[in-house]
Structures are given as C-alpha cells and as structure tokens.
C-alpha cells in the first residue's frame, strides 16, 4: 500500500470510528429518556464502578495533596511565598489536578473493567443472547454504565479534592507551622464555586468518554480471549489520550466563560 493510500485508509477508519462512537453516544442519551428504565442495573453499576473506586480515590487524593503541597511549599519558601501555598494547592486541585488525575487513574480501572466484562460477554455470545431474548444491549449494558460513570466520577473527584485539601493541611501544619484556621481561610478565600464546578463538569465529561469508548470497543470485540485483551488495552490507552486532549479544550472553554 502506497503512503498516501495508507494515510487515506487510516483517516477513513478514524472517521468511521468517530461516527460509530458518536452514534452510540447519541443512542445512549436517547434511550436514557424512554422506557424501560434499568434503575437497578444503574444502581449496580454505581456500586461497581463508583463505590468500588473509593479506595483508589482515597490514595490518589491524599497523596496528590501531600506531594503538591510539599513541592509548592519548599519551592515558594525560597521566595518567601509559603503563605500562598494553600491558595495554589487548592486552586490547582479544584480546577485541574483532582478531576484530571482521578479520571485518568479511574479510566484504567473502570475502562478496563467495562471493556473486559462486555468484551467477554460478546465473544461468548451473551450479548447476542440479550438481543435474542428481545432486549437491547444498548439499554441493558451501555446506558447503565454510561450514567454510572457520568455520575460517579464527579463524586469521586469531590472525594479526591477533599482528601487533597486534607493532605495539603497535613503538610502545611507539619512542615510549615501553619494553623488550621489560616489554611482553610486561604482555601475558601481562593477557590470560587465556579472553580469547583468546572472540575465536576470535567470529570463528568471524562466519565462519559471512558464509558462510551469502552462499551463501543467491547461490543465490537472478536477473536476470543485475545480479542478481549486487545480491547482492554485499546480502551485504557484511548480513553487516557482522549482525557488529555479533552481536558485542554474544556479548561480553555471555562476560562473563556468564567475568566481566570
């Protein structure tokens, strides 16, 4: 295959994939507002994807706060700016670090989980069985996972943000002799509601991206267990890349709307 043909084929495949993913997203939204509703499946998925990710979120949030505060603290100390540490840490956590890192790490957990589960169901004809029994895999499998991810990630981000602030407090108190009152005064003075809301919106969007990518690829899985492995790897890599790229555009959008 000549290089131009190869590039054209790749571009065509990319457009096809984008179209299929957009169609799945559109159909998932459309199905969400018509009967039958699978609230018990949604609750199961929130438990599985959301509640099951709490422990890893605790680790991410706390260590993120500890590390950031330690680095910002000693960096700013050289210029006499230790007092600004709570403001810098809290603003970074609210706008970027909590939604971004939580989503990126959780993408590995829930993306691979969805991909492996639905991928394995597909290669063992269980997805066909759902269709053959007069039901829709979109409603039964995709919609509950989509909304569970969209709803769970902002909550996990909130937890991660809160624990990051706690981690910052621990370092500020132990390393820089800061009082609890001063620390929280600076945090609440710096972080505006829109900073926090932008983080929540971002994480909700990332949740949607992870679940739709995972469901789409999993429903296309072929070639047995090897196919399931390939799907899982693809989902983790692709959703991470998508989160990185989307993060830039959403951040820019919020800066345009709400200023700096």
């Amino acid at each position: 295959m000549s290089p131009p043909t190869h590039i054209f084929t790749k571009f065509k495949n990319f457009l096809t994939l984008s179209g299929e993913i957009s169609a799945l997203f559109y159909n998932a939204i459309k199905c969400s507002f018509s009967r039958p509703f699978y609230l018990n499946r949604l609750a199961d998925q929130i438990k599985n994807l959301g509640v099951g990710s709490i422990s890893i979120t605790i680790v991410i949030g706390l260590t993120m706060g500890l590390i950031m505060t330690l680095n910002f603290g000693y960096g700013l100390k050289k210029f006499g700016g230790v007092l600004y540490v709570p403001s810098v840490v809290s603003l970074s956590l609210a706008r970027e670090m909590a939604p971004f890192f939580t989503s990126l790490i959780i993408a590995g957990r829930i993306g691979s989980g969805i991909a492996a589960e639905i991928g394995a169901m597909n290669v063992t004809q269980q997805v066909d069985a759902i269709r053959a029994l007069g039901t829709s895999p979109l409603r039964v499998l995709v919609v509950p996972r989509f909304w569970a991810s969209v709803l769970s990630l902002p909550l996990l981000t909130t937890l991660s943000f809160a624990l990051g602030i706690l981690g910052g407090l621990i370092v500020c108190m132990s390393e820089f002799d800061m009082s609890v009152g001063f620390y929280f005064h600076k945090v609440f003075w710096t972080v505006r509601p829109e900073d926090y809301i932008s983080g929540l919106v971002k994480s909700g969007v990332f949740g949607g991206i992870i679940s739709i990518l995972a469901c789409h690829k999993a429903l296309k899985t072929r070639d047995g267990t090897r196919g399931v492995g390939d799907t899982t790897t693809w989902v983790v890599v692709s959703s991470s890349i998508c989160i990185l790229i989307t993060n830039f555009f959403i951040s820019k959008l919020f800066l345009v709307f709400w200023g700096q």
Partner: protein
Amino acid sequence: MARDPILTLKNIHKSFVKNQIHKGVDLELQKGETLGLLGGSGTGKSVLLRSIIGLEFIDKGEIHYNGRRIDDLTEVELQKIRIKVSYSFQSGALFDSSSVFDNIAYPLFEHTCYSLSEIQSKVSDVLKLVRLEGKEELMPSDLSGGMQKRVGMARAIIMEPEIILYDEPTAGLDPSNIENVVEVMQKLKGMGHAGIFVTHDIPSALKLCDRIAILHEGKIIFNDTPKELKSSTDSRISSFITNEEVNHGNQTYG
C-alpha cells in the same frame, strides 16, 4: 401443503466478505412442525438461524413470519418478533454472572408484569420440563455442558414462543445427555411449539423431525420427510449421510 406456513424464507443470499454462504435458500415451516436442517460444517446452517431473528443481516431475499415480512424490520421492531421466535444457542450462551434462576427469569422480568412468586413458579415448571428441578441457585459454571444447553432451552421457551430455533443442541454431548435433550425437544414439540433443529446428529433428527432439509453449497438440495431421506438415491445426499456417519461415530439411523 395447503396450510399457510408460519415462517417462510425466500431466496436468501448471505455472504461474509468474499465467501458466499447462502445462494438462494428457500424454506418453509408449518405450525407445530419440527424441521431438521442438516448440512456439512461451514455450510451456513447457524447463520441461517441467526438471520431469521435478525442477529445477522441477509444480503438479499425475504423472511416472513406469520405473513409479515421481518427481514427489513428495525432492531426495536425485531425485539417483539424475538419473543415469539426464540433461539437456543449452541453454547447455551448463559449469562455467566447470573444464577440459573436469573438466566431463565430474565425474559419474564423484561417483558411481563408477573409477580416474583409467579416468576418463581414459572421458572420451577420449566426447570421440571428440562429435568433440572431444584437447580435454580446454581451458577452456569457449576453445570455440565448438557445441563447448560438445557438451561439455555429453558430460557428460550419460558416466554412460550411459537417457534424455537435450536442451534446444534446435541453437539458435543454424550449419548445420555443427547437423549435428555431430544426428550425435552420432543416434549416441546408435543406442546405445539414449531422448531428448526440445526444438527449433525442424523439419528436424533430422524427421530424428532417431521421434515428434513439439507443445505449444501448455499442451497437446499433436499426438503422432504425422514422416510424420503432414507430412500433418497441422490448421490450428494447419500454421500453427505455417509460422511456424517463416519464423522459422528457410525451411528445407525434406520
């Protein structure tokens, strides 16, 4: 036959990339009849069954169910047809994270408004029919291959469909399990369910079916009673039967 068929396949064509599987398949299924669909491996018997309920799209031709064309229906419209025309998968295709009860009760939870006690009673009845009484709480991984197939059948019949499509229900089973599966199919036939039985198991097909069709090189080359099959002088049919006997352990079928 003078009666109107409940299922009609007209001039079905289907290909995968450059491999043409069906080159004009015509078949009819009458109410309450069991049709055996035989053919060598890779001749597209399972693909034909999957096409009937829209799990595969056909390239050309028409499929009619009770006089209504169904091959051009949307996925949502097909969902209603799939309640009336059920499919029993070769592998069972049980939901491996759900118990036997949840697998069988799945269509009832989805399509009916029965209370839990009514559903329990229906599941219990259908398990009795497939001779798996009291296995409700087991997981699919706890079952043997034959039991999984029978649970798959139980799930396929729980909505009391008009037609059951059996995809090689006896494949890979020992003689005792084959007997169990055929006995279940006979009971279902006795209850008035029509069926298409895709198989390589000629003795079971002859025992069970009212009519036998043979798919060869994309077309139906034989479509008549088991009696006519035994007396057929067509060299392609006798060669197919001889090959199947050799491949499946020289089972006698007369």
